[in-house]
Symmetry: C2
Subunit: 338 residues, 2 copies
């Protein structure tokens, strides 16, 4: 049921039955290493190209997810997935052999919440009993496609973010499954917000206003305050984007800083790893939510969280043609009690 | 409600209240010219790049759609859209200023049905009262991105298809609106099918098995026969792909040829326009359904149709790396009586 301006209440409160995550070597050097299910020390993951490596990461992550639950792959009704690569080939090739009906999505780094929203809305509506949401990104395939080939050895801008080599997947089921798991209670799909930022090396600044728009709308629609949530988790605003988000709420007299977390700043040690403003990419929130935050929910260290994946919908071609960066953020409320 | 293996029955039968279409000069020289709402003779549509022209096509089409119905833009709950360009920039920039919450999709040329499926499923579930689905493609932006810059002047392969410069959009509403319009009764999201085709200039052959898979599954799930429908309309199999589809059904002892139509062969005069196997692209089914087929439904010349958009999920990078072409098809049953 739609409530307010943009939010949908999931009256049948689907469950996130389980999650799976997998990352690359740099992410394993970061502070969340103990939470990831799986990792590879080989950035090529045994493949001949970065694109094939990324696709294999997602495929492995989905396989790992399905091995964790007592559910046969053939019982998954639909899968929702996307990534950053042109024509979303990481997802397409990862899902090719699963024999599961597939919805391909593109929301840039917001895609993890876009896929998890649709996966839970399908279960809530009775269109499916079991759905999977998955996204991935890979530092090397993203650098080649969006910026420069790695061989170029260019310096990072001080406002740049580092695309996470990682993937995450979640299985959503009806609430009648007896395993205790967090529920999805509300989703707030976002509108595009474009404040005129044209610097592709400053995505945090481009995306922060979109995160602000979606979080504000979600709180208005649900009549909740910032402090209702134990954590409001953005996808990959990074250090600078997070500061801008806090500032935007401060202007409204709201202090979001105590509950705000950002997957892009959590996944790396910003002091000691050369990642500038932090992590980004479809795989950033996917891997951090599917490891650290899901564990925090399962162990009741957190009970009510709002996850808000943020995406910058530009392309190198659009930016070369002088366009600014349209951004979007999608929010999902996940709670242990309903 | 899910029925059978892959199909969802839309018990609340949302309506396609209206559609809008717009095409370029070559499409206006084809046999469907009288059905399109709008067209441009300028392949640049007054813009400085093909990408900006494509985005403006989609934006104009959505504006035209909303001008046809007595509904304020602010009452549209969600918009579902996608295109072929990297990072789906045609959709992103077209929708940027609409202030409507946005789901970005990528299903290659299958995206029109993917967006219309989700738009109707949201209305059916009560998540929305009014949704819009839109897709676009542009010959010149697609050639540059997927094949060669036009300046290269390369010859087309004999099995090639010509990307349609066109766009289509539909508005889906709850059935209680008093205007007589066709209903969406069933959707069948597709699985990826990859029969090992590696020739990017033979997409019809790559996509035909996916169309066969989805149509067969739809008929099994709904317990309908081919002849239940007045027309089974594929997106852009083209002449060769259509022949393969007919052959695949013939092997099962089913004659689909009498009801099968393909938007890619309808939109051009294959004898006299240099388009080889016919049209393709996200804008092909979008513009042909939103003009010709919607008119046929409204005037009751057709009363029961199944539209099946087909997509090839490869990328130039994947094909250069030796990958075959994964394909997908999504089907939607549209009927005047429920």
């Amino acid at each position: 049921m739609k409530i307010g301006n943009q939010t949908i209440k999931l009256e049948n409160t689907p469950k996130i039955l389980h999650t799976s995550s997998m990352v690359g070597p740099k992410e394993m050097q970061g502070p969340l290493s103990m939470y990831f299910d799986a990792h590879t020390d080989d950035i090529f993951f045994g493949e001949k190209s970065f694109e094939k490596a990324e696709s294999k990461l997602m495929k492995t992550c989905i396989d790992n997810l399905l091995s964790k639950v007592p559910i046969d792959k053939s019982k998954i009704d639909y899968i929702f997935a996307g990534d950053l690569l042109n024509q979303c080939i990481s997802s397409g090739y990862a899902i090719r052999d699963t024999n599961i009906p597939f919805f391909g999505l593109y929301g840039a780094c917001s895609t993890f919440c876009e896929s998890l929203m649709l996966a839970s809305l399908f279960v809530n509506a009775g269109y499916a009993n079991k759905t999977v949401a998955a996204t991935s990104s890979h530092f090397c395939s993203a650098e080649r496609q969006f910026r420069m080939p790695l061989e170029h050895g260019n310096q990072l801008s001080s406002t740049a973010q580092c695309t996470v080599t990682g993937t995450g997947a979640a299985i959503v089921t009806t609430k009648d499954i007896s395993i205790a798991s967090p529920y999805i209670t509300y989703v707030t799909p976002g509108k595009i917000v474009d404040m005129g930022i044209t610097d592709m090396a400053n995505m945090g600044a481009a995306m922060a206003p979109a995160a602000y728009s979606t979080i504000s709308t979600h709180l208005n629609d649900t009549k909740r305050s910032v402090n209702y949530y134990d954590a409001i988790v953005t996808g990959d605003l990074g250090k600078l984007g997070s500061e801008i988000l806090v500032d935007l709420f401060n202007k409204e007299g709201i202090d979001i800083s105590k509950v705000h977390k950002d997957c892009g700043t959590l996944i790396y040690d910003l002091e000691n790893q050369d990642v500038k403003m932090g992590g980004s990419g479809c795989g950033c929130m996917a891997s951090v939510f599917s490891s650290y935050f899901f564990e925090q929910l399962k162990t009741k260290k957190l009970n009510k969280i709002l996850i808000v994946a943020t995406g910058a919908l530009m392309s190198p071609v659009a930016c070369q043609q002088g366009e600014s960066i349209p951004s979007i953020a999608h929010a999902i409320a996940i709670e242990n009690e309903v």
